[in-house]
């Protein structure tokens, strides 16, 4: 892993393409924070964001041997990320790795009780202001494409050209989605600033 860290993307990708799992892990570590960030901002839900993250890298792992480097790896990866986001429903999939059964909850409680650790604070939720809730609701009214463009532009700060590459469409289409998204956000949030 130490050697892999020193390598350029192209070399790491080359090794990952032929099935080197360590190289794949290295790629994940180089780019996964951004993938998770896009997912988290898009769905605004940590559990769903983790599901999207998993789905993205499973797809990347499967498709990597076919990656022909016609575009930057990051562009290809973020294109997969936006595709997974756009097709992601609101359903909460059961985790394949860590399941949360009633039994497990009971064991957790017992273990906590044994240790005398209070868990009150772990239940503490971040307070959502009215504005935050309203913005979130307004964003959910946007079409998936509008929401994606708006998220990438407004909260992730990507340039229009980069968003167009990610979504495999023209810059004009991205602008159209952005203008429409802004219009709809204005319509829904006007009473907050007038």
């Amino acid at each position: 892993m130490k050697d892999l860290r020193a390598l350029e993307d192209t070399e790491v990708i080359k090794q990952a393409r032929v099935g080197n799992r360590s190289a794949f892990d290295e790629l994940v570590h180089r780019y996964d924070k951004q993938v998770l960030s896009i997912a988290a901002r898009y769905v605004n839900q940590a559990e769903d964001a983790k599901d999207i993250y998993q789905e993205v890298f499973m797809r990347v792992y499967k498709a990597l041997p076919k990656f022909e480097a016609r575009s930057e790896f990051s562009t290809w990866l973020y294109r997969i990320t936006t595709n997974v986001c756009l097709t992601h429903g609101s359903r909460r999939k059961k985790h394949s790795h860590r399941t949360h059964s009633h039994d497990r909850d009971d064991i957790d409680k017992e273990t906590d009780a044994e240790l005398g650790v209070s868990d009150h604070e772990t239940d503490r939720q971040t307070l959502n202001s009215e504005i935050s809730t309203r913005v979130s609701t307004a964003m959910n009214v946007l079409s998936p494409q509008q929401k994606m463009v708006f998220t990438l532009k407004h909260y992730e700060g990507y340039k229009l050209k980069e968003i167009a590459d990610m979504l495999a469409c023209s810059e004009g289409t991205v602008k159209k989605h952005l203008f429409m998204a802004t219009q709809r956000m204005r319509d829904q949030l006007r009473d907050l600033y007038e």
């Binding site: 924070k33 960030s37 983790k50 273990t111 650790v117 772990t122 229009l160 956000m185 600033y193």
Partner: protein
Amino acid sequence: MTHEQYRERVELKFYDELGAAEQKELETHLLECKECSAFHDELKKLHGVLAQYKPVEVTDRLLFEARDQLIGAMRGKDAQSSLLDRLREYVGDALLPNYKVALGGVMTIALGFALGYVAFRSGPTESPSVSLPVQSMNPSPELVRGEGQIANVRDISSDPRSGEVEFMFDAVMPVHMKGSVNDPKIQQVLAHAILNEQNPGVRLRTVSAIASERVEQPDSDVRDILIMAAVSDENPGVRIEALKALQQFPMDEKIKKTYLDILKHDNNSAIRIAAINALASSKRGIAVPDKEFIDVLKQRMQTDNNDYVRLRAKAVLQENKQ
């Protein structure tokens, strides 16, 4: 240009997507056009509202959890692929065109016999378990294998040419392992348990085992897994034990950052106390307290909702000033 086009430029201006000439042209227009100027002001207010919205933040813990979930999924995928490859390889060899129908019949009969045997055979054991031969293992660490369990017998097929039967099953074999916590093989298994064991009691005992022994040969992989457990394990008991275990390792930047992250982000005050105590007890490893160290402690001293954390933060800060 139409007003509509100027308004689009207003939007692009807020996203820093205008060239210098376009921006200048827009500013001139805004001075002359009240409608577009009002639109500009409205959009400014909208951006003010949008700035107050805080979407889900990608914390180190969330990233750890996502990675952990991915590792589990990849492992499952590997196991599945391996079985499918073997099945595909076998089917490719066995299903020659002339034998397809005959083999189909033979396989059905063989499957019937096998199921009948499993369902109705008499014997002292109720479950379909058999003893597996004990294999000699490397004496250090000592390994003694117990009996294995066979389950999920499937894909039974027979080859009339050779008279052989082939099938698949899941074998679960208990393995008794004994050795020093400094043994890399032992560390590897313990690390696997911390990452993958679903029972928090087992994770807790595993981390405790590391915490209770003096680690003579610090392994960076084990350290990283303990860091992951300290930051992201959902069970507070495991997180505290992982913090204790980390104190067995020489202080380095990664461990220091972990203590500070926990101090900043963990909602459980008991764990924040453990983190600040760990920082205080290992401060000799921090050559010069850096800005982040001081900032986090100052912030805790001023804002933590736990009295003890505030007092400890103040004390540690004072110690470091001296």
